[in-house]
């Protein structure tokens, strides 16, 4: 059964499929530092698990934010992509490694990162 917020995730994925994705400077800086490729970030949005949705207002904005984990079948997903919706685009706000951030734990059974 789909959650009531799944439309948001679908919406972001549709925008990504249509090329309506923008990269904020902060996100591109962090990706460069960590050597994370754009294609892997887009793959995370298109195929990675949605792990968190942050509803507005947040500390740093008024847009809904959707969190995706890296799309990988073999390893534990290593990075998180945060996307904010600003119609008609979705803007990637930041990309970080889970190990660098507090507040995440990995659920081995469900194979997803959980925010606590």
């Amino acid at each position: 059964m789909k959650s009531k917020d799944s439309w948001v995730v679908d919406h972001v994925r549709k925008m990504a499929a249509r090329g309506k994705i923008l990269f904020r400077q902060h996100a591109l800086d962090r990706m460069g530092e960590r050597k994370i490729w754009r294609d892997d970030v887009l793959k995370a949005i298109e195929r990675g698990e949605n792990i968190h949705i942050q509803k507005p207002p947040t500390e740093t904005g008024k847009n809904i934010r959707v969190f995706f984990q890296e799309a990988t079948d073999e390893n534990i997903p290593s990075f998180c992509v945060i996307v904010a919706i600003e119609h008609p685009y979705a803007q990637i706000i930041t990309v970080y490694y889970f190990k660098e951030e507090k507040g995440w734990s990995y659920d081995e059974n469900l194979k997803i990162w959980r925010h606590f």
């Binding site: 090329g19 994705i21 990269f23 740093t60």
Partner: protein, 156 residues
């Protein structure tokens, strides 16, 4: 379009961007981006982001591979001596060099090994009056160690 952080308007501009790939940084000019009037944050479309990453990653790899062969200036810089010292060292056989056309070329590996071999060659150079002081020897050794660490890191 609005900025998702401060909700102000963003406008399309041509700008320069200091791109990074690991420790490597590169300034790219003439990049199309949206800029927030208020917080100055830039936003790039997906294709521009791809182009920025490809250029920066490409250059960072090229930089790492580059100096397998050095010219006189680069060798002098590496050894922290003058160009004339390098010519002297070629002349008396302390430095192995190959002439390509009118230019001398040096194997970076051999120049490094020259210093690596217990500093014997450096001591010899100092004895022969090539003005290498203890301080200069230490500087060269420091520089070579840095280069070695860099290439080891790259290999990893």
């Amino acid at each position: 379009m609005k900025c998702v952080i401060c909700s102000n308007r963003m406008q399309e501009i041509n700008t320069s961007y200091n791109s990074r790939w690991g420790d490597y940084t590169l300034t790219i000019q003439g990049i199309k981006a949206y800029k927030c009037d208020e917080c100055d944050e830039l936003v790039f479309n997906s294709e521009v982001a791809k182009m920025i990453q490809s250029i920066t990653a490409g250059f960072s790899e090229k930089e790492g591979d580059k100096p397998d062969f050095l010219n006189v200036e680069e060798t002098a810089e590496l050894l922290r001596v003058s160009n004339q010292t390098i010519y002297n060292m070629i002349k008396d056989g302390r430095l192995v060099a190959t002439k390509v056309g009118r230019e001398w070329r040096f194997s970076k590996e051999k120049v490094i090994s020259l210093i690596d071999n217990g500093n014997e060659e450096i001591s010899l150079a100092a004895q022969k009056g090539t003005q290498l002081t203890q301080n200069e020897s230490e500087l060269i050794q420091k520089h070579v160690n840095r280069l070695k660490n860099k290439s080891e890191e790259k290999r990893k």
